[in-house]
């Protein structure tokens, strides 16, 4: 019987009632008396010297309060980068200043040059058109390989080159890896592009800055996945505001997908301008602006080589990747192609030698940072594509080749510095074969052929590292912050509970799933428990939501805090029951003296804590509220196997996905329905990357897919019904819930199987096509078929 509440129940998402009835409170719903509006004049060229910004005429336009330019921000800090990567020579990465408003130079289309604050948004926009810019155009630095060549135009004149870092991982493995390639019986090589993407959350970014002179208090309302991180970065590094004078609120947020992790110029601007002008200042991004100002994702150009011995065992893996940073380093950009990518190159396989080289490059493009999966999709894609290519070259079954090379014993220390605590890759592959009906594929292919279509089957495995991360480890790797999380469990007098969490929910369903855990631990109904998140004045210092970490890290903090609460409540119960607290058991909301029928209800104990008339005041404090910070001992390692079946129209190149199946191991699952939903959404984004989404620039640095007219988002009719399964569960061994995280799996695990399936379809129809770069649009597939 499925449970109807607590851990393992598919409780309905309580937050959906307000979202679906239009009752959510998003940042754009926040309007403060007297607020003014800012419009950013953004660069329409990719690279230029700014000779002058003349605001004299614009300043006289109706309603204009003030126009800010780069020089206003010169004495103020730039936007900080939160991760410093050390290159293969032991030198720190090159780190350019990232100004709030462009100063001296424009470095990408969309970069804010001036900010007009006016009484209305229309007035601000009108005035911005009157600003006179004198620019001297410079050549746009677009191609990464050309950008790092000798004599290339520099994006940043004060850096030695456009190379941010040249990272080798693990550098000590390089010689042995190269030697293994010399001895290989077979080497498969693949060059590929991991296409640049725009995250496109449904809600564009918004910021409202407010300042109260009476108590010198700054407040920023913003569309963020991690309000405490924004408070730390903006307060300490940009504006110099101490934490107790700065409150950051991220209310309902309509999707993040990574792009709302980062600290953006608009947030700093609105906070700064509100104090300067003594007026609340609001910015609401248009969708067009979002394309030009939200951090993009992916954008890797990679060569990967796989060495195999005569028995088809993987003996070594070697990669060289160019990773686009864009014009500036976004908050966590340097970590994505390195520690979130290189560490995953072992995948599900026991390849003994791996060497990863990553060259991060500055170009005149919008900054690139984490997007759902962040580094792990790039790692998975190249690995699972090269394994598939190897199987085809060797004429062996792609599933069998994977199986043969699976890691089977845990814990497993990879040659790329991480230790998988647990997993069972054979189990997820077996489950996949069952739910995908791999055995029935041949019949389905015959049916497709009868209808004039080519049919292909693609399979891939994936592993990811989630639950980021042990703070002491990431500190050694260059993180400039800790990566714990925190929760406060506040029990009210009548027994209801508010849990203040550092994680932020913007689609993940925390408001439903987190109470399920507390309900399970205490035995009170879920609706007696509420989650509070998104406001630095209400929640403990937590690091927010990204990297599928909320339940594994913040959820663990919540469990620790709840354990403290329960331990204290048992002491109170023991007093009330005149027993020893060691003998008190808590079940279904009742404290019972073990082996007796003496019991007291949860509500009676909580009331006693707040009305301590009959209470051991000499031993314990009144009240019932505990906080815990949790710093994980290791990453978590969700893993799984995905299968995609496509039909390809030989006349047009159009790919349709006929079946898609996902067998995931997320460890323990709190709410299976929410987990399925997370996988569904992730697969949609993965299929979007594989077939549709293409963030494309021309050679002058103009974004040519700058609206939905040219940037193809996946729609319902692009997608099949999915078969998803998460019954294979090897619980995480080092967190109290045994959970691993599920938010990114779909986006990580799906692109390779889609491409593998298309290649299978084409090759099976006799086409000599070994690779097509994503997105596999009809035009690209047709072009490939023409040879």
């Amino acid at each position: 019987m499925p449970k109807d509440s607590g851990i393992g129940a598919s409780s309905k998402r309580r937050e959906d009632i307000r979202f679906l009835t239009g009752a959510g409170n998003y940042t754009d719903d926040i309007n403060i008396h007297g607020q003014a509006y800012v419009h950013f004049l953004r660069a329409d060229v990719a690279h230029a010297t700014i000779n002058s910004v003349d605001t004299s005429a614009a300043s006289q336009m109706p309603g204009v309060l003030h126009i800010f330019t780069g020089s206003d921000f010169e004495p103020i800090g730039g936007l900080p980068c939160g991760w410093q990567v050390t290159d293969k020579h032991g030198e720190p990465m090159q780190e350019p200043k990232h100004p709030v408003l462009a100063h001296g130079k424009i470095r990408h289309v969309g970069e804010p040059i001036a900010a007009v604050v006016a009484e209305t948004y229309a007035q601000a926009r009108d005035a911005a058109e009157e600003i006179e810019l004198s620019l001297t155009d410079l050549p746009a630095v677009m191609d990464m390989k050309k950008a790092v060549a000798e004599g290339a135009t520099k994006v940043h004149d004060d850096l030695t080159s456009n190379l941010c870092y040249d990272w080798g991982f693990v550098e000590e493995n390089k010689a042995a890896t190269d030697a293994a390639f010399e001895k290989a019986a077979h080497v498969t090589t693949l060059e590929l592009v991991n296409n640049r993407l725009v995250a496109n959350p449904m809600e564009p970014r918004v910021a409202v800055g407010d300042y109260s002179a009476a108590d010198d208090m700054h407040t920023l309302y913003t569309t963020s996945q991690n309000p405490h991180v924004i408070r730390l970065l903006m307060g300490a590094f940009v504006l110099g505001i101490p934490e107790h004078r700065l409150r950051v609120v991220a209310p309902d947020v309509g999707g993040g997908f990574g792009t709302k992790i980062f600290h953006y110029a608009e947030e700093a601007f609105c906070t700064f301008a509100a104090k300067q002008l003594r007026r609340p200042v609001k910015w609401t991004s248009s969708r067009s602006e979002a394309f030009l100002s939200d951090a993009h994702g992916r954008d890797h150009v990679t060569k990967i080589e796989l060495a195999l011995d005569a028995e088809n065992n993987f003996t070594a893996l070697r990669t060289e990747t160019f990773a686009n940073m864009g014009a500036y380093l976004s908050t966590f950009a340097p970590s994505v192609p390195t520690w979130l990518h290189g560490t995953l190159m072992a995948g599900n396989y026991k390849t003994p030698l791996i060497y990863v080289n990553v060259k991060a490059v500055f170009t005149n493009t919008i900054p690139v940072d984490a997007y759902r999966g962040a580094g792990r999709p790039e790692a998975t894609f190249q690995l699972e594509r090269v394994v598939d290519k190897a199987a085809r070259e060797l004429g062996v079954d792609p599933i069998a080749l994977r199986r043969q090379n699976f890691v089977t014993e845990f814990p497993y220390a990879t040659p790329v510095a991480v230790e998988y605590d647990t997993g069972d890759y054979e189990a997820t592959m077996a489950k996949l074969e069952e739910i995908a009906d791999i055995g029935g594929f041949a019949a389905r292919r015959a049916e497709s052929e009868k209808n004039g279509k080519m049919r292909g089957l693609g399979v891939n495995c994936y592993i990811e590292a989630c639950g980021i991360a042990p703070s002491n480890l990431v500190g050694q790797l260059g993180a400039r912050a800790g990566l714990y999380d925190a929760a406060t469990v506040r029990v009210n007098a009548t027994g209801s509970i508010s849990v203040m969490v550092g994680a932020h929910s913007h689609g993940q369903g925390h408001e439903t799933s987190f109470p399920q855990v507390i309900s399970e631990m205490i035995g009170i109904p879920e609706d007696q428990i509420d989650i509070v998140h998104g406001d630095t004045s209400k929640i403990p210092f937590g690091m927010g939501t990204y990297g599928s970490r909320s339940l594994a890290v913040c959820g663990s903090a919540m469990v620790r805090a709840a354990e403290k609460v329960i331990n204290k409540a048992k002491k109170i119960a023991a007093h009330l029951l005149e027993a020893s607290d060691a003998d008190i058991e808590l079940k279904d909301g009742q404290f019972t003296v073990a082996g007796t029928d003496k019991s007291v209800a949860w509500g009676d104990v909580t009331l006693a804590a707040y009305v301590p008339h009959n209470y051991p005041l000499e031993d314990i404090e009144p009240g019932l509220e505990e906080t815990a910070f949790y710093d994980p001992a290791n990453f978590t390692y969700p893993a799984g196997a995905y299968a995609c079946e496509v039909e390809v129209d030989p006349d047009t190149g159009k790919v349709t996905i006929e079946r898609f199946s996902a067998a995931d191991d997320f460890g323990n699952v709190i709410n299976p329905m929410i987990v399925s939903g997370q996988v569904h959404g992730g697969i949609a984004q993965g299929i979007g990357q594989a077939l549709l989404e293409n963030c494309a620039y021309d050679e002058n640095g103009q974004l040519i897919s700058a609206s939905y007219m040219d940037y193809a988002m996946p729609r319902a009719d692009d997608l099949p019904f999915y078969e998803v399964d998460h019954s294979c569960q090897t619980p995480c061994t080092h967190n109290p819930l045994g959970v691993k995280g599920c938010g990114e799996a779909g986006a990580i695990g799906s692109p390779p199987s889609v491409v593998n399936a298309v290649i299978d379809a084409l090759q099976s129809a006799g086409k000599d096509v070994t690779h097509i770069d994503m997105p596999l649009t009809p035009a690209r597939v047709w072009d490939a078929m023409q040879g």
Partner: protein
């Protein structure tokens, strides 16, 4: 958008009059014009809304059997009201944009805009329809004048479009993946006196008739009839979504499919 005045005339005469004002512009369903205004790419002084003019709405059958569609008729109304009379046309209308677009966008607005990737121009040209304006009748072959250009004069309003009903017809749209406009759309219509084939989405000159296919199909209305024909890539659109060679190829593929579906 910039500030503008809006007029909402209830009659065609009032609309024509209002359009004589300086920098006045007709507003049909606004499915192109409103986004253009929001992007500040147009700055009309006055918008004259045509959506309140009852005499320009609806579908009827003319004395000669032609399907007559008022210029301010929405795509959704065409889907409902033309289905029994000209199913291929109703089917085309049912695949324009999304429900919001179909419930606001109008046939007159689409034709006056003449987007090179719009669907309606292919049906109008492929049917040899007649565009009726407040001033004159314009045959389809003389109406379309390249990308976003038509024979319409300043202030001229499309009041009605008259479609002769073919024996058989079909529209095949191969969608551009992002916009879902036609990457290539082909309308094929078989009349007693011959076959017309009109192509949208493909050419830098906008909608055009593929005359070689028309000749071949007039002799033999089957996909095989065009098997030996080739479409030149010269003058075809090349962009992010497909090369000119790809579009030329799709013209033939979609024509063949339209013939099969119509037959």
């Amino acid at each position: 958008m910039y500030a503008f005045e809006i007029e909402r005339p209830g009659t065609l005469a009032d609309a024509v009059n209002a359009l004589k004002g300086e920098d006045a512009q007709a507003l049909g369903g606004g499915q192109t014009l409103i986004p253009t205004l929001k992007a500040r790419l147009a700055m009309p002084a006055t918008l004259v809304s045509l959506s309140g003019i009852g005499e320009m709405k609806g579908v009827c059958i003319g004395d000669d059997g032609a399907v007559c569609i008022g210029g301010a008729t929405t795509h959704a109304a065409v889907v409902r009201e033309a289905a029994a009379h000209y199913p291929a046309l109703a089917d085309l209308a049912s695949h324009i944009g999304d429900p919001a677009v179909r419930n606001r966008g109008t046939i007159g607005g689409s034709l006056a805009n003449n987007d090179p990737s719009a669907c309606y121009p292919s049906a109008v040209l492929g049917s040899g329809a007649t565009i009726i304006t407040n001033a004159r009748d314009i045959v389809a072959d003389e109406f379309f004048d390249g990308m976003f250009a038509t024979a319409l004069d300043e202030g001229e309003v499309i009041t009605e479009v008259r479609f002769p009903v073919p024996e058989k017809a079909n529209y095949q749209k191969f969608v551009q993946p992002a916009s879902r406009f036609a990457l290539v759309g082909v309308f094929v219509a078989k009349y007693s006196d011959g076959v017309r084939v009109a192509v949208t989405g493909a050419s830098e000159d906008g909608v055009f008739r593929w005359s070689e296919a028309e000749e071949a199909l007039s002799r033999d209305f089957s996909a095989d009839a065009i098997g030996g024909l080739e479409v030149s890539a010269d003058g075809m659109i090349a962009d992010l979504h497909g090369s000119s060679a790809y579009r030329a190829h799709l013209v033939k593929v979609m024509t063949g499919r339209a013939v099969v579906a119509a037959a």
